[in-house]
């Protein structure tokens, strides 16, 4: 499969990217190679990308294209084999609370309540804050995701959507600079999913942290993101194209779906995923 980067018909991606030297978050020639029994396996090959502060980026691509690996190198759970990921001019080497993750399986501690899960994060990251303030932050973030009523419930008693709300509240309560979400809404029903997308946008509008989010859903990306990173197929995946999504904010789902640009962008993404980089199932 060719990895030729074709010029995007809608707005040149290069214009939206900041100058690579002083971007908030940047990938510099990042490659990830895993040693296997049959020789080295290249997951990602020479990724260069710059992300602005406060930007909402979605990453889309077929499974096995290294999306999770790409984000794990920001969270610090994976390190590049070659190249480096730079945040604020510092090389990322290990996980830290400035790059909080909303994990795919929620990763909430089931022996605690919703409140205790959020409080534990606040208390771990900012142990020196006065007790009253830590409690206030916890309550405030649970309220943001509409969980004031369910705060004292044990995690096991919560539905999937509520668990994801707790995970988001926990992630935002520690005020990260970068929020990383790995397919956060994949396991939820369509209605809950839309509700959570809207809540996430509302909160992001107030906090303006930088968001990196993996998704499989083009409509989700078009509603949420400033830019959509489309990855080519693995092995040795690259960034195929970065699409600008320039709908004005705050966004309204009905309004943007009436915009003709929505369908142009959607078709462009579909064309990328299902024509130019269609997933070859027989190759697996």
């Amino acid at each position: 499969m060719s990895t030729l980067i074709q010029p995007a018909p809608m707005g040149a991606p290069a214009s939206a990217a900041p100058p690579p030297g002083d971007a908030f978050l940047r990938f510099e020639n990042v490659s990830k190679v895993y040693p296997t029994a049959t020789g080295p396996y290249t997951v990602l090959d020479a990724i260069d990308m710059a992300v602005n502060q406060g930007e909402f980026m979605c990453v889309i691509g077929h499974s096995g294209c290294g999306k999770s690996t790409l984000l794990n190198m920001v969270s610090g759970f994976a390190t590049p084999t070659e190249g480096q990921v730079i945040l604020h001019g510092n090389r990322i080497t290990k996980p830290g609370p400035d790059r909080m993750v909303v994990f795919q399986g929620y990763a909430l501690l089931p022996w605690f309540t919703a409140y205790e899960n959020v409080y534990l994060a606040v208390d771990s990251v900012k142990p020196d804050l006065p007790e009253r303030e830590k409690k206030e932050i916890t309550r405030e973030h649970l309220a943001m995701v509409g969980l004031t009523e369910a705060a004292e419930k044990k995690i096991l008693q919560l539905s999937g959507g509520m668990k994801q709300r707790v995970a988001i509240a926990r992630a935002l309560a520690i005020r990260p600079e970068v929020l990383i979400l790995d397919e956060p809404f994949g396991a939820l029903d369509a209605i809950t999913k839309e509700e959570l997308q809207e809540e996430l946008l509302t909160i992001w509008n107030t906090q303006k942290c930088t968001v990196l989010m993996i998704t499989h859903d083009i409509d989700e990306a078009l509603f949420l993101a400033d830019r959509l990173v489309m990855m080519t197929n693995g092995p040795a995946a690259k960034i195929g194209e970065i699409m600008d999504i320039s709908f004005p904010r705050p966004r309204n789902r009905e309004e943007i779906m009436e915009d003709p640009l929505y369908y142009d962008l959607r078709n462009q993404a579909l064309d990328f995923l299902y024509s130019r980089f269609a997933h070859d199932d027989t190759a697996d």
Partner: protein, 277 residues
Amino acid sequence: MVPTSSRRPGASISPLRWLTRSSGSWLPPLLGTGGFLLLWQILSSAGVIALPAPSSLFTEERTRTLIFYPFYDRGGLDKGLFWQTMASLSRVAQGYTLAALVGIAVGITIGLKPTINRAFDPLFQFLRMVAPLAWVPIALVLFQNNQPAAIFVIFITAIWPILINTAEGVRQIPQDYRNVALVLQMSSRRFFTKVLIPSALPYIFTGLRISIGLAWLAIIAAEIVMPGTLGIGFFIWDAYQQNYVGEIVLGVIWIGAIGLVLDRLMAWLQTRISPGQ
């Protein structure tokens, strides 16, 4: 499956009807146990087996006294079964507590450090196969004293399931929880109390429950090394030496009953402390 009644829950049922309806749960064990005792009675009366019949436990003077007066105390070793049991239980409690403390501590260490696990695992796998009785002479040589030797035998018998299950519980902590601890940069102390212990608790309890049974099983072995001391194990050994077969049978029944109670107690504790995980 027992068909469920169409009555509303909480509606009162006469005791007799309740007994008839729930007979599926109490009848088979009653028939099984009763049948076993009956068979034993017949075989003993017919002289096929040398053991005294179950009925003789009540007809024979010595065992009848032991059954009906568990609290008697004529000084020395001549005490009721309650006091014999308490002496044994206190020994089990000491050995078991020691086994729990050491087993959980070592289990957590080897669960967290694969290298230490690899270093000691063959040794642990080997040692846990050694029967309680085989530890007795070693314990006597090691301690030169009956009391610590008995406690050591219980300790060394009970420690392995606790140690191995705790280590497994720590290894089974989901990677997600570890990642949360990493990204929040939790202190080791916080990780230990908020993540590790709660996550491994069901495994630790499984080990503790298996071990309480083993600790109680080891009591006979432990008390045989202590001639002349109060305890249900030595009680049986002493009865054997003096050929009071009825007392042996009674002692064994008593041991079984206590073991059952201990196991149920641990099971109950387990449901109280880590419900539904």
